[in-house]
């Protein structure tokens, strides 16, 4: 076929970027490829609609490293899967199931296998694109109109101008002698490779619009908010029921809560021993503890006090707990600072009144009846009395043998 002179098509444009030669068929292309390879070019390639057997050898292509990359991906997948399952199920959040070891390899194999395949496949996919330098939407060979057949039924060979040995006339000669049926000269576009500015603006606008929603969410979620966070999905927030104190048209008077049936007492509200449960005898606050007073009770009271009371009242009961300090510093408008437990009005209160305050709350202090048992509330009162005593003690309160030390 070499005897027939190929046509050389050239189009206006910038510098020569590549020569694209068409060949009659796969066998001719393989033959030409070995000639171009022998001529010592580096930046050249064949273009065919399907992979041609023997082309690798004709072009002198060395085996790709892709399989090794995929192997590395698979090993990484196995390591990631085993480490993940070991860390999550045996270390950070141990699940005890059927008395099996926390790290039970047989049960971890399915996920390990899947991640080996996943990591390997992703490596193979990303690897083949990266090694092939794809995506690459522009390439000089696309300048050739004939080249469109390379993906259908044409067989092409291209030599790029960036090759150090490239010289247009000699390369064309080589392609002609190798049997090219047509040669196209591909040039760089005269105006340079420019993307229309509209595309840039469009992409920039889309990018900014895409960033706005996550930024809004991040802004909303950062910092303290006075209102509860937004629930897009109400889950169990909205329940079809009547809440206490709500209006209910079903009952006379519109009360949602039902009053107790006269002459009955609800379970757990049998407060016959009013001294114990209410801190009262008739209308009088009790002045004596209705529970046994002991060292254990004081210790228990201290423990409960430090848990429930100290955050506001402070460990000594001065009213300087952390919550109180912070609220004062921030000048919270609705904050009523707790009274010092050592202030005169508190000190003179009978124990029944102190008990009542713990039980039902006072001013902004909430009731603790639902959180602290009756016995513990009395223990706290006992500890409060001990605290008050400690802050207003005289030498006479100390055992005689210790007085000398303190004097």
């Amino acid at each position: 076929m070499a005897e027939k002179e190929p046509t050389i098509a050239d189009a206006p444009g910038g510098a020569v970027a590549a020569l694209v030669a068409q060949f009659a068929g796969p066998d001719e292309l393989v033959e030409a490829a070995s000639q171009v390879r022998d001529a010592g070019y580096r930046y050249w390639d064949t273009h065919t609609p399907y992979p041609i057997h023997g082309m690798d050898r004709a072009m002198g292509i060395r085996p790709t490293v892709l399989p090794w990359m995929v192997l590395a991906g698979g090993v990484a997948g196995a390591a990631a899967a085993l480490l993940m399952q070991w860390w999550m199920n045996a270390v950070d959040y141990p699940y005890i199931i059927s008395g099996k070891p926390l790290f039970s390899l047989p049960a971890f194999i399915p996920v390990t296998f899947e991640l080996i395949v996943l990591f390997s496949a992703l490596t193979a996919f990303v690897g083949v694109l990266a090694l092939n330098q794809l995506p690459q939407l522009w390439h000089p060979v696309f300048q050739s109109r004939r080249f469109a057949r390379a993906t259908s039924d044409g067989f092409f060979l291209s030599i790029e101008a960036r090759d150090p040995k490239f010289e247009e006339s000699r390369a064309a000669e080589l392609l002609q002698s190798a049997g090219a049926v047509a040669i196209d000269v591909c040039r760089m576009p005269a105006t340079g490779r420019e993307v229309p500015t509209g595309v840039y603006w469009g992409v920039a606008t889309l990018a900014i619009l895409a960033i706005l929603p996550p930024l809004g969410v991040a802004w909303y979620r950062s910092g303290a908010k006075k209102l509860p966070r937004i629930h897009p999905i109400l889950d169990m927030d909205a329940q079809p029921k009547y809440r206490a104190q709500a209006f209910n048209p079903l009952f006379p008077g519109g009360m949602a809560s039902r009053p107790a049936v006269p002459g009955t007492i609800a379970q757990g509200e049998m407060d016959e021993n009013t001294a114990l449960y209410l801190g009262k005898l008739g209308e009088q606050w009790v002045d004596e503890f209705p529970v046994p007073v002991s060292m254990e009770a004081v210790q228990r009271g201290r423990e409960r006090f430090n848990i429930y009371c100290a955050p506001c009242h402070g460990l000594t009961g001065e009213g300087d707990g952390m919550v109180s300090q912070r609220a004062t510093r921030r000048a919270e408008p609705n904050w009523v600072p707790p009274l010092s437990l050592h202030a005169e009005p508190v000190r003179v209160q009978p124990v029944g009144q102190l008990y009542n305050t713990v039980t039902n709350g006072i001013r902004t202090m909430p009731p603790y009846a639902s959180q602290i048992s009756v016995e513990d509330r009395w223990a706290i009162v006992l500890y409060v009395k001990a605290l008050q005593r400690s802050q207003h003690a005289t030498l006479d309160d100390v055992p005689e043998e210790m007085r000398e030390k303190l004097r």
Partner: protein, 493 residues
Amino acid sequence: MSTITLPAEDNTTDDPRRRAPLTMGGQTLTSITETVARIAERPRPPRAWYVAFAVSSTLTAALILAAIYLIAVGVGVWGNNVPVAWAFDIVNFVFWVGIGHAGTLISAILFLFRQRWRTSVNRFAEAMTIFAVICAGIFPAIHIGRVWFVYWLAPYVNQMAVWPNFRSPLLWDVFAVGTYATVSLLFWYLGMIPDLATLRDRATSRVRRIAYGIFALGWRGSGRQWHRYERAYMLLAGLATPLVLSVHSVVSFDFAVSVVPGWHTTIFPPYFVAGAIFSGFAMVVTLMVPARAFFGLKDLVTLRHLENMNKVILATGCMVGYAYSIEFFIAWYGGNPYEQFAFINRAFGPYTWAYWIMVTCNVVAPQAFWFKKVRTTPWMMVIVCILVNIGMWFERFVIVVTSLSRDYLPSAWEYYRPTAVDITMLLGSFGLFFTLFLLFCRYLPMVAMAEVKAVLPHHHAAGDWQTPAPAEPHANGESHQGIRYPDQVSEGH
């Protein structure tokens, strides 16, 4: 040189002196491109396409509405209730995942076994895989009830400071199906890049050139690209092969690892995989027969392709039948009274109708494929394949529902009935599947052109068939007609 006198249109007869041609009608590189690319290029598809699309998109809309209703009201709109806590949702999930398996089998396993006939059907079957996995993925996602917490399935760092339990088969399922969907998509897309480049290079409008051009990634079909591409394709096939076997095994673990009689059997993994391939091939044939007729692909997807798939259906159908009988044998041989009850109840209990539909469709119907007449007559094979699809759906129904409806606690026994929402979602999932499929037929290359070209007689291992006629050199690229290979079958050369 003597010429064998076989009818030119018959490639289903095996003659030891030749290799049966994989394509008919004297295909050339050009004609393959034309046949396949024209389908995606023509401005208006056949009227049948519009009719089918109208029906399938209506069903898809019904699926979406039913799903919204389900999410808004709760899973109580389904018929599921204790003891049958899994029903249509899981039946449909397993059914669709199984359908998907044929695609991976054709594209990966047959590739590794060097079954060249796969090239005409693999694109089609892989697309089917993707769409089937999409349909499958919907059901487990919405059956969790609070679908907006579906991300709890993933092991992510969370403020609750807990991690998922990796010893649960349900979590293996998340990883298996997720990996399967990802790898199938990569495999499908990688295989399609050269063909998208063909569509790009043939595009006549700017929009098409840009759209196909972006997805073709600038593919130039270069020798160096093909070298790595072929290696990557082989690696992906090698990875997808064990993957496809693992996925349905893991799906079967959802049942087999439990202690419910009728589920707790070691035969489940191989039995599920065989059933998946069985149902998947049946679906490929069901879709392929009308598609090749409507889109003029009869020369590329020949009767031989269909016959080969029908043979696979026959083989896997027999495996499934064997599994049904061995389950009964093990129930008797194992001496476990609960297991024995479960299987007798399956065949003769309240769901006896479902069981015998399953046996008739899955075991009896494919026996028709012993006859070559049935294997090579399109309308007959479609009937058998539709029966197989019905049977395989009922197989999952029988497994899931019969075992649960009669569990260990007789006081809780209940007869499961699907609701209208259940049935709408089942039909709707078919609508979604066919909608995606019709869009695929309309816009993407339905046959892997580059792969079919590579197995044209001249182009695979030398000397199989016939040397090409001396190609006529074409100085002018526009009039170049490709290299023509004679289609006469001849004995050696």
